[in-house]
Amino acid sequence: MDPQALTRRDALRLLGLTTAATALRPGLSAAAATGEVKIGLAAEPNTFDPHLTVGRNSQIFIANVYDGLTARDGQGNLVPGLAESWKRLNATTWQFTLRKGVKFHNGDDFNAESVKFTLDRATNPETKATISSELSTIAATEIVNPFTVNVTTKTPDFLLPVRLGELFGLMLSSKHTAAMGKEAIATKPNGTGPFKLVAWTKNEKLLLEANENYWRGAPQVKTLVVRPILEDAARIAALQTGEVDLIAPVPHVRIAELQRNDKLAIKTIAAPRIFHVTIDVRKPPFDNVKVRQALNHAVDVNAIIKTLYFGHGTRLATVVDKGALGYDPSVQPYAYDPNRAKALLAEAGFPNGFETEFDSFTGSIADHSKPAEAIVGYLQKVGIKAKLNVFEFSAFGPRRVQNTTSPLFIYSIGDAYLEPSWVIRWLTQGGLGMHYKNARLDEMLTKIEATDDSKKRAPQYSAVQKLIKDEAPFIFLYQADAAFGMSARVDYTPRPDETQWLYPLRLKG
């Protein structure tokens, strides 16, 4: 008998579990929040004004206080948030049907007026919104009735529902914002989210309390005390001593050691940051696809993951991350094969390799300089002598803006929307040192972008990944894991979009 087959007893057990789970569910959501969890994070948000957030560390946290029109589930799928449903009326108009009966923390009603106010504020140049680039397609927001809004865009934008999610579509109360003023919103937010910000002493701690009237049901933990603990060693020490119950991130080098501690649990998830080396395809010899493929065969990416990330990373075949819509695991990464690389170089007319330059930088959110050193070393082995230039991140930025980067440079992009088209469009924008263009790719993406249904969009990305792999406009690298450390008191499952969404956090026992 096939041991994998479902036996009658298994079926009965499954049935029993399902019934129990169904019976428990309403009980859970009706229960009031209890207990306190202390959390240590590497950074705190710069502000709770969703339009003036700086850096991913702010955006991934403040969603705990607000809601977007759309949201993500634990697997990263787009699900309804403050909007119950949405549809594209025509190429440039999206209609959102809003959830009824939702209230802001101070009791204000959430309705179409809140949406119009929020989006008008975000797109008003006077707001000087730091996130305006993410909402730059929005032309106008129109109230159809108290629970329906139409958002028109300057050009067709299939991503609008995703943009208006938890990163850039957090909803404000118009009354509260007008009454409190700009500076006050930064520290006294009034959202519809699962937690209310009670107190905030910058650099010391944030105190959040459960929103008992949350529309998804009250969160299970009543009080969250969030401490910014910048130094990795101090943050881990705080977890080890029980000063905090949950920390993020845990540096890769410490994961194995902490996993041996049976009082702690470490959970990792592939973070949507896509590491890659941009190749300037305009400059010979990189205009030759064989040279670009040779570069990909030359670098032992698995060894880099193993040594620099202690195995906590995922090799990527292209620039589409594992959690993204339509990620196709059947597109295999380039094999590490220095002989093949040399053969390709010889075919391209460079049997003895060539000299070039490679830019990397320090001081950004993730380490790019160490992988860059490793890559340059691998290139050397197949005869490509790349001179490595290391910049400070904020000095490297202007080089990209002025398109004065070297023919090769390492970079990483966070796939905030988990949507390959967004990443690829950015990587082929023709600026910031990225100059790869392909008419067929463009056509494929345009077709995908005209498809509103994500289920129909997903399979179309397979061909895109194959094409990009073959064209090799980048040295494809990896995505690193994000690691969370927690004590035995709590249970938390990180989400694949990097968000520190604390609603599902619960105390054990």
Partner: protein
């Protein structure tokens, strides 16, 4: 005396202005905050638009002039990151930094003076050897390493002290000790060498000849004179202590000026960097002035006429 103080204050203004020029251009030489402030998906066009809107596209001298005009009114601009006026943000963090640095200084003095005196009076003995070993280790061990070791030992292994953050007295012990150790080592050496010098002076021999007890000779005659250079060194070291506080505040997430400034530098939050530089430079200059005046008062030999 008044003219002397006025002169010194005038020099102080020039020093602070010079520091502000240097820090302004140095921070700008390493890039502007556009890319750090915008979401990762921003395109080249959007980055340029942002730079123009915030005035980062203007030539540096223009930006510096704009900064200076406001700064003379005490307005260093609104923090790019926090959206609040930057000077009050820094001022609000001064008490935490003062608590830390003053504790560290007192700790260093309280430990160094007796140790140095004992080492000097028992020259070549085991206490001297111990004091000099402590001084050697204290001056050569990097304070960030010491800080992390202390966290591992006192917080993780022994559970005696909290790992980081600011709260009760227990919270200040490790960060203050990490800052103090270097200064303590320096002061121990200083006290020892000046005490040795003083103990061989004629007036000490006279005091001993009068039949005074050795303890009295050491504590009343030699020590006060040996402490005069200590005052100068402590004053001069204050700048270094503030520098050390930047590192130590970061390791312990101590919510002071140092931590706030380092974050501002990393984020290219110029208004905050400028306000911090102004406050810190002013503090160092004023403390040096105070030390000089104190010195004049303590030591009549160098009194200006």
């Amino acid at each position: 005396m008044r003219a002397y103080i006025a002169g010194r204050l005038a020099t102080a203004v020039l020093v602070i202005l010079g520091v502000s020029v240097v820090s302004f251009f140095l921070t700008f030489l390493t890039g502007d905050p556009a890319e750090i402030m915008l979401p990762p998906g921003a395109t080249a066009v959007q980055i340029e638009k942002f730079r123009a809107e915030w005035g980062f596209a203007d030539p540096l001298p223009v930006q510096y002039w704009r900064f200076l005009k406001r700064a003379v009114h005490g307005d260093f601009g609104v923090s790019l990151r926090h959206g609040q006026s930057s000077l009050p943000l820094i001022v609000a963090r001064l008490p935490a930094t003062l608590q830390l640095t003053v504790t560290a200084m007192l700790l260093a003095i309280v430990l160094a003076v007796p140790l140095g005196v004992l080492a000097a009076t028992r020259r070549g003995g085991p206490i001297d050897l111990l004091a000099m070993s402590v001084a050697l280790v204290g001056q050569s061990v990097p304070n960030f390493w010491l800080a992390i070791m202390m966290i591992l030992l006192f917080a993780v292994s022994w559970g005696l002290l909290p790992t980081s953050g600011r709260g009760g007295v227990a919270h200040v012990v490790m960060p203050a000790a990490a800052i103090a150790i270097n200064l303590m080592a320096l002061l121990t050496r200083l006290v020892r060498s000046t005490m040795i010098e003083m103990l061989s002076e004629d007036y000490v021999r006279t005091a001993r000849a009068k039949g005074l007890r050795e303890l009295f000779v050491t504590s009343r005659h030699a020590l006060p004179n040996a402490l005069i250079p200590l005052v100068t060194v402590v004053g001069l070291q204050f700048g270094y202590i503030l520098g050390g506080a930047v590192v130590i505040e970061t390791i312990f997430t101590w919510p002071g000026v140092g931590l706030f400034t380092i974050q501002a530098i990393l984020n290219r939050d110029y208004p905050v960097v400028q306000a911090a530089v102004f406050i810190l430079a002013t503090a160092v200059v004023l403390i040096n002035l105070a030390v000089d005046l104190l010195y004049v008062w303590l030591d009549p030999r160098i009194r200006v006429t």
